[in-house]
Symmetry: C2
Subunit: 451 residues, 2 copies
Amino acid sequence: MSFMPPTDSMFLLAENRDHPMHVGGLQLFVPPEGAGPEFTEDLLESFRRAGNVSPLFRKRPGQPIGTRWKNDETIDFDHHVRHSAVPGPGRIRELLQLTSRWHGALLDRHRPLWEVHVVEGLKDGRVAVYTKVHHSMVDGVSALRLLQRSLSEDPDDRDCLPPWALPSRRTPAPRKSFDPLALVGAGAGAVGEMAGLVPASLKIAHQVIRDHDITLPRAPKTVLNGPIGGARRFAAQSWEIERIQRVAKSSATTMNDVVLAMVSGALRQYLLEQHALPDEPMTAMVPVSLSLRAGDDVAPGNSTGLIVVNLATDREAGATRLEEISYSSRQAKKIVSDLSPTQFLAISALQMLPLAMTPIPGFVRYTNPPFNVIVSNVPGPREEMYFNGAKLDGMYPVSIVTDGQALNITLASRDKYLDFGLIGCRKSVPHLQRLLGHLESSLAELEQAWG
Amino acid sequence: MSFMPPTDSMFLLAENRDHPMHVGGLQLFVPPEGAGPEFTEDLLESFRRAGNVSPLFRKRPGQPIGTRWKNDETIDFDHHVRHSAVPGPGRIRELLQLTSRWHGALLDRHRPLWEVHVVEGLKDGRVAVYTKVHHSMVDGVSALRLLQRSLSEDPDDRDCLPPWALPSRRTPAPRKSFDPLALVGAGAGAVGEMAGLVPASLKIAHQVIRDHDITLPRAPKTVLNGPIGGARRFAAQSWEIERIQRVAKSSATTMNDVVLAMVSGALRQYLLEQHALPDEPMTAMVPVSLSLRAGDDVAPGNSTGLIVVNLATDREAGATRLEEISYSSRQAKKIVSDLSPTQFLAISALQMLPLAMTPIPGFVRYTNPPFNVIVSNVPGPREEMYFNGAKLDGMYPVSIVTDGQALNITLASRDKYLDFGLIGCRKSVPHLQRLLGHLESSLAELEQAWG
């Protein structure tokens, strides 16, 4: 039993049936050469047999909720590790439907807060693994890092362990980064560190805005920024990094800019079809990493802050959108480069602040959103990776949506690919899967302009 | 939009992540002769195409929760009608695991409160349909009746409609029966009819107890009567009515007595294995139907009341247990036959009253339960039934468990079978499926004694 810090408990306290607070990952694996039909069963067995469950995956919230963690001695593997199957015709489409359902269901708080589905029945022979972990246990980036750490670069390695069985020293360090979702929890009534942080940050942030003559971008109201329900839609697809790199090179922009331009074009097309495109340009909140300067006022290490980028969704031509996005993003980074990490974190907090207000009933109906969509890029493995000989063929992040932010796009790099995971509220983001087609046609348009 | 009566709203207000308040049914179908692999897809299509959704299945709770029903004009069939698959090796065991997971997940309150899974992948070629309906919409008995009404006795009938598309006149009448779960909701803070009923009933009940010199059976504390979590275990199996009837006949008892003796033997064996059998005999709460006498003080029709029967789990021999159960059940019915329906309902309410207290934190830890287990017997079709040519081969009720009542056994008669559905809290009722084997060996023991 141990004290639960507010950075953990706020995600438990903020959670309800419409706002599950877990993050997930959907992995695809190609079974090794010559693997028979017993491959899934063997994988399940290796998951269930993994004896030494690390302390992180034994933690269960004690009563009253939010006050302490308890440690479970015995782990009910039949509860945590589940065997599932994709119904006919066994396409990725059906797998995404299942993932949407799983991601919309709350975790059982009487057990450690994680769940894994090993999924058979894809007609292409691949096997999927959907992993779900509560945000009070671990944040999204650390969760993906755990998934990665269970993999090996060596296709002949047969000593791979699932994330929950990794030796303790390999489990993630306490959160150092600025978590975009942290304030959502803070607003829901958690006390302590976070609550203390906000007023101090506000003071620093306002000072910075005055000193640097900064104008924070304004976001229009859109259908993506209303209250949400509990059901989800998930869509996922991989793009070759080379295609995105080529556009970035010939347009003298960055890969991140090109990704944002893909998102911009896709959202524009999607909202046009629904007669819901706002006149003003939409904006995206983008976490960026922050290399700390020597002699600085926070502890050394890598940290993350947030910038808001103009998506230029009011412009028809893809090339124009990419130019404006790149300009906006350079401006934001230029400001950031002049700030100390503490000032940067303060500005980030200021921009997230309206999200912290969303648990107040009706709040999101009457205010402009701080930004329209979160687009997050998480670095993944640079090589082909394997789990006991099965080749990783996709690793799609499944993030969290909240009132006011009904769509979240998180992508992870993997080998030669960018794996996009799009999660949305089922009700506010109908036909979410159409965004995949629009992302592709956006990229194709950019390739034509800059190829 | 319409006012929501407290008999509906209390089930919404009492619901939380540990206490989902929906009832379900798991049906098995044998596809018609010569049906190809497209059978499941066709069934799904016929479910989704069913145009005229009845008002009952369009109802959605409006805000604030518990005050009013709203009517949805458009129905999102992709949300309500779901395609699922049993993973390998495709046994009933895997189907039951899936059903347990589905039954432990909350319904989305932003949509009408129902969900249907059409399940393929059973290796024996049968197709399963799991249906889930919120108790605020319809009670368990009416839900099973709706499932029945969508079936036909004619194997050549191809005009069968799913429950939600049945003409309005065939939807169930408002609740007339005494609902064993009603007081659970009432205790959770609902006001109005139910709250008014309780004090009046108490007065009548105490009068009856004095006048008739009744001793209400006392139940020991058992592991089945503690607080519960949100995850579930479901087990199901069919028994031939003829076997049960034969024992009832030669032992001069009733079918209901034999069923209770099966349950008694199974619970005894199950708790012995866990070193958790109480010294005192356990009791079961059994809903019984009540034929209203002419000139009586409540509206005519069929009504249901509750009796508590001694299960004699302290006796080793099956034959002895059956004798004691039969005696206890006759005593209870004898008392009942002397009562007016109002008096009977009042006594039933009195016995349920402790359940109404269970939402008070810690209550179930410190008091004896009013009874140890609910055993409910629901009449079903007497003939073979079909849905568009597919033969019904099982219809297992999936009921609700609550704090203090971690196991519920509900059975439905069907053609020549009794279909048992056992639902339990995953944590308090480990190895629930073992009860199936114990039910069978209990019956076998009775057959040996009375066969």
